[in-house]
């Protein structure tokens, strides 16, 4: 692919945000400019490239938030799906231009104080999206390397915009195009263009709650027994009380701090203080929440009209549900309650005959589960207390070596560390690896860690 790649022949590139998000309540103009600045800086920090923001129409990299068909041959498809694209360097008029789909829910630092943000696309741009597309704008194509920011898929937040370090794979590829930046930075300006010397400041957030300490009743992820666990849209959700934690597809905890269920899952009763079980329905991928004898159906993160309804809709007795998961082996939905389980066909919306059966048929898993889920490795996971059990493929017997601790394997707990009150206030300064990093303060402004 390298032989096919084009690159800029000049080293000073101008950029401009030509059109801004039209309906975002979170992203003001200054924030967008700041995010773009920092996304470009990631690339210019390690190469001899220099990016300058300009005011005119002759910017090398024109950035637009646009919708649907915008006359470049690559129409956007509304929320989800394709979210942005950029033109490779070259002689074309549009070379380097970068377009973001304005139908997406672009956000940066969730108003909810967590990184869970909007459902359709929680892409704090500088953490991932702009990085990828500016990679295109300077000549990098997609790669299949797992560690690369140039993978075509959204991979989740990548951390503090000021401290982001490109994966080695990407460094090597961009060095092959432009070489390594030496210790002396270039200061020459491109001729005939105005520029700004100072980086824009990330300051126009309507309500930056990222520094708000966690609620007093927020549970400890390392010692909790979870109410429910589910794989939703490929990600893992751990629910406890009024809160949940979220893990990306590659099993990275999105935030050490939990998010309030009601701030993300819209439409559940305000007095609902916990849930029993959750699963993503095969077929239409709607999400089902269970509590007691009721269930709620969600389309994305918004509840459907007409809910809650009784769980007798599923053919279940009115005893409630401990656990539910969809078995990858047969795409059937399994409900567990005490020491019984049921098999349900979500495609036919019908309970299979011959159930309930005794949970002892699942050898090695305990009765009265907290919840269960399938995972993208093809295995099924059963959770109870602080432990979990793993069943591989179509096996109905627990794999050797289980149970194992949930906290250590899933939720970035080390030797079952506790989120003790005295450590909680520092959580905004903890990276997902558990390492401390200090507050970042320079040039008279402060940027908080975006990992929390």
């Amino acid at each position: 692919a390298l032989a096919l790649q084009k690159k800029w022949t000049k080293r000073h590139l101008s950029w401009r945000v030509r059109t801004f998000p039209k309906e975002s309540a979170v992203l003001g103009r200054e924030t967008v400019r700041a995010l773009m600045y920092y996304a470009l800086k990631v690339w210019s920090d390690i190469t001899p490239l220099n990016f300058h923001e300009v005011a005119g129409n002759k910017a090398d990299i024109q950035i637009d938030f646009t919708k649907a068909d915008h006359n470049d041959g690559y129409p956007f498809d509304g929320p989800g799906g394709t979210v942005a694209h950029a033109f490779f360097p070259g002689e074309r008029f549009s070379a380097g231009d970068t377009h973001f789909d304005d139908d997406e829910a672009w956000t940066f630092r969730s108003p909810g104080g967590s990184s869970s943000n909007e459902w359709q696309l929680e892409c704090p741009m500088v953490r991932f999206v702009a990085l990828l597309w500016f990679g295109h704008a300077i000549g990098l194509a997609h790669t299949s390397a797992i560690e690369s920011i140039m993978r075509p898929y959204y991979q989740g937040p990548v951390g503090d915009p000021l401290k982001y370090d490109l994966p080695y794979e990407d460094k090597v590829r961009v060095w092959q195009l432009y070489g390594v930046r030496d210790s002396v930075s270039h200061t020459a300006r491109p001729d005939g263009v105005s520029h700004t010397d100072d980086p824009p400041v990330l300051m126009d957030l309507p309500e930056n709650k990222s520094t708000v300490p966690p609620e007093r009743d927020a549970p400890d992820r390392c010692t909790s027994h979870f109410d429910a666990v589910a794989q939703i849209r490929g990600e893992a959700f751990f629910f406890k009380g009024k809160y949940f934690w979220r893990l990306t597809r590659d099993k990275h905890l999105v935030s050490l701090r939990p998010t309030q269920i009601h701030r993300f899952w819209r439409g559940l009763p305000a007095n609902l203080d916990s849930i029993d079980a959750v699963y993503e329905r095969p077929g239409d991928h709607k999400i089902v929440f269970f509590k007691g004898v009721k269930y709620w159906l969600f389309k994305d993160n918004i509840v459907e009209e007409g809910y809650p309804r009784p769980i007798s809709d599923f053919g279940l007795p009115m005893d409630g549900v401990d656990a539910v998961f969809v078995w990858l082996h047969n795409d059937k939905t399994y409900f567990f309650k005490d020491n019984h389980y049921w098999r349900y066909d979500d495609h036919l919306r019908n309970m299979d005959q011959g159930y309930p059966k005794d949970t002892t048929l699942w050898k090695g898993i305990p009765s009265q589960l907290d919840d269960a889920m399938r995972w993208s490795d093809g295995a099924s996971y059963f959770f109870k207390g602080k432990e979990y059990w793993r069943l591989v493929g179509s096996d109905m017997e627990v794999e050797a070596g289980y149970p194992r601790p949930i906290g250590i394997d899933w939720l970035v707990c080390k030797d079952m560390q506790s989120d003790a009150p005295e450590t909680r206030n520092n959580e905004t300064d903890l990276q997902i690896t558990g390492k401390h990093h200090t507050d970042h303060a320079e040039n008279a402004y402060e940027v908080c860690s975006c990992t929390s």
Partner: protein
């Protein structure tokens, strides 16, 4: 093979075409693709996406296809053949 609706199959074929894994359908045969070409395209997509190469639209594959992503095709060779409008 997992249960697939016609809608899922159509979505999968459309996705593979859009992102460069499946060449445009033969105009003589209309929208039909050979089974072999489809299998190879799915395997290529799975290989690029870091999934197990099963050659069928399994849950992991369909899940990855639903992931928000960049509009650019993944396969540069096919992109070249198609004229490489971007470059």
């Amino acid at each position: 093979a997992p249960y697939l609706t016609t809608e899922q199959m159509d979505m999968g074929v459309d996705w593979l075409s859009r992102f460069g894994y499946l060449p445009p359908a033969d105009p003589v045969t209309g929208q039909l693709q050979t089974k072999e070409a489809l299998t190879q395209a799915i395997k290529a997509m799975q290989r690029f996406g870091g999934l197990e190469e099963t050659g069928v639209f399994d849950q992991a594959t369909l899940g990855l296809m639903k992931t928000p992503r960049c509009s650019l095709p993944d396969m540069s060779e096919l992109e070249t053949a198609a004229g490489r409008r971007r470059r």
